[in-house]
Amino acid sequence: MTQAAKAMTSVSVALAGSGGAGVMTAGNMLLEAAAQAGYYGLMTRSSGPQIRGGEAAAMLRIATTPCDSVDDRYQVLAAVDWGNVARFAAELPLERSSLVVGDPAQGEPPEVFLKSGARYAPVTLKAIARKIPGGWPNMVALGLLGGLIGLPSAALRAALEKSMKKGGDALAASLAAVQAGVEEAAKLGARYPLAPAPARSSRWLITGNQAAGYGAIRGGVRFVAAYPITPATELLEWMAPALERVGGTLVQAEDELASINMILGASYGGVPSLTATSGPGLSLMIEALGLGVAAEIPIVVVDVMRTGPSTGIATKTEQADLNLAMYGLHGDAPHLVLAPNSVADCLLTTQWATHLAETLQVPAIVLSDQFFGQARAVAERPATIAFAGARQRAEPNAADYKRYVLTPSGVSPMAIPGTAGITYTADGLEHGERGTPSSSAADHLAQMEKRARKLDSIDYGEHWAQIEGEGELAVITWGSCTGAVREAFARAKGDGVSGRLLSLRLMSPAQPEKLRRALEGVKRALVVEQSFGGQFMRYLRGEYDLPCELTSFRKPGPLPVRPDEIHRKILEWSRA
């Protein structure tokens, strides 16, 4: 069966195998090659529960336009061996026109992959690699995938050269193995050729975790304390050497209680500070976040959300820490909550969070997630935005200095240790203007109003949400669902249905007036989120007066939200 080789604007391929098969290395090279050839791309990864050496899958989408979401199905699944690869079946949906490539010497593909009607093409990856001294099956598979989607050999070569800087025999062997794979692809009678690459633009290859770390540094963060946790660890591992290079410091703390209190101490000392964690760690940090609110100490906490509750599914995504981030603090504790809406947007959102936290002297929680954090994307070079830490500092020997003086904006100049004549004690106890503990009702109310007023004292501008499209229908969403919603709308356009996409970046403080205006003329809105309990829907109902009829689309992790499920929902609901 030879397939019509119609040029495609998006192709999804996956490479799987057991530990040590090198599927991640090959996947990263394929993404790099696609980028070299001028395509956009997104790579996500999955691995088994083993700590080391378990099966793994590199899942790539390569396209002529930016990919902010995974696609519905994979066109090609290649496996170096089948080990326990069947466990990824739910993450690797195939279709009739898909191709499953495997090495017959490693056994037959698991039945679950062929149920879709996908065709199986045996290729002796290992035997082919063995013919090339120093050749590896994963490199043959890389060539095969590159060949199937029509990547130019020069791009594959450039990707290999970039990641094997030492060159020499190893590079030569890999290039030969890749070439053998490309030749093998030509024999398969199936092709999934990409349409020509779009015009070149300036692009970055970056993960969400790196983007968040870099955004923080751009925003002025120079101190980080943290405790390792999946899927936030890579953010910290990227920041450790990066901070060192710009004159900052990272401390590995003994636990999350320590991390958050360390950054409070450092920020009290005048140094913009951050910690990164995931749900279990955020739970431990909640008490001290309240201290940041009460003592008015700016900090940034990035929560790379994973599937909960409890330890949950540590390596998978979900959007279910919204309640904790919004409402977890005891007492009335106004603070900032922000959420990026794409892998690359982790940069802008974390930078903005740092800027806002510093300006308003308040903790900011950034809700990223495993999907963003661990996905690597080819994205348009993020704009350089001038958000930087802008903390208002008190002058030395200021007359009658009061740390918590009641100002119209609610923000009061902060004395930084080392500054003469204005010493004070930062306090989590309710206090008067000087910071002296007070249990008077008047002080409590005045300071409470001050802390609340701060958050309403500035105009959050256009960054509060991402708004696209027109129409009487709207989808309101946030975080990593945004890409799938955007794509669903693009498809719905083909069915004659159009609507507005609203993805909230600023979750707290809520912006009811801005949302009201953004929804003008909208009659019905679909609320899309990745939470079993509908946390975002409840948040919208609680924080906003929504002028339109609302419908909820929600599902829990661990599987990503795919465009097709939202596309179908939009159609069904627009016709209802």
């Binding site: 710009v246 990272l250 003994e254």
Partner: protein, 278 residues
């Protein structure tokens, strides 16, 4: 930040704020406060270059009673906040202070790791073997047979030995002091601040309200009969066998303080993006 004033101008009184302590009359913490102010005057540091960091408890109220920069955080986390502050601002003199409940119970893990990490700061624990602020419950240093409303038959639990634990965890300076000797305690605090790395001083500071029998501590304390050692093995033997009332420096080590690597020639933030550019 400012040029140091001439030495003669450093007076303990300068370090005492006009905030009236909430403490009960006779509480040991009053004298610890005056020992801190005396030590700071002797150290000739300016109040704005000192930060006093605490958690929650009667004793943890101490920062606001000084004219230094103060940080009155949450229960048990004084050492974490002090660590972050000192690492971010190595130019400051950082003193963490608090109670036995704050430091050994809820904050126990931070105590171990602060000793291990050996950041150059001083930790003063006002040990009254009780939770004073919450009105008289047993703490980790409370005797097993001390009964209270919450532990009617006593805890039956062996006491925590803070000095032994500090030594085993790597503290670089270990001393025991008593609130009944404010000048002696001031001298020990000054030594602790001068000593590089993590310095730990356990101060016997009676809670006259919930442990009135502790008033007799002043008759039980005595100077340590031997000079401080820098040998952890000897220090361990002494600490394991001492009567709990030896006052003085019990260990002074030579560990290098924690000093995170910082680039001497910081690069520009924009350069960091090079690795992402295609």
């Amino acid at each position: 930040m400012n040029a140091p004033a001439p030495a003669a101008s450093f007076k303990p009184q300068q370090f005492k704020s006009d905030v009236k302590p909430v403490w009960c009359p006779g509480c040991g913490d009053y004298t610890v406060l005056s020992s801190i102010t005396k030590a700071l005057a002797a150290l000739e540091v300016r109040p704005e270059n000192v930060a006093v960091v605490s958690g929650i408890g009667c004793s943890s109220r101490i920062p606001a009673y000084t004219t230094c920069y103060g940080f009155h955080g949450v229960h048990g986390r004084a050492l974490a906040a002090a660590t972050g502050l000192k690492v971010a601002r190595p130019d400051l003199t950082v003193i963490a202070a608090g109670g036995d409940g704050d430091g050994y119970s809820i904050g126990g893990n931070h105590f171990l790791h602060a000793c291990r990490r050996n950041v150059d700061l001083t930790y003063i624990v006002m040990d009254n073997r009780v939770y004073g602020m919450t009105k008289g419950q047993p703490s980790p240093t409370t005797e097993p047979d001390w009964d209270s409303k919450l532990s009617p038959h006593g805890t039956g639990l062996r006491e925590f030995h803070p000095l032994v634990i500090a030594l085993a965890s790597g503290a670089n300076f270990i001393a025991r002091a008593t609130s009944s000797d404010p000048n002696g305690t001031a001298e020990l605090i000054a030594q602790a601040v001068r000593h590089p790395g993590f310095s730990f001083i356990e101060v016997l500071s009676p809670c006259v309200t919930f442990r009135p029998e502790q008033r007799s501590w002043k008759d039980m304390v005595h100077p340590a009969p031997v000079a401080p050692t820098d040998d952890p093995a000897r220090a361990a033997r002494r600490l394991m066998t001492d009567d709990g009332f030896n006052i003085g420096v019990l260990f002074a080590g030579h560990r290098k303080p924690y000093q995170p690597v910082k680039s001497a020639t910081p690069r520009s933030v924009a350069e960091l993006a090079a690795e992402f550019v295609l």
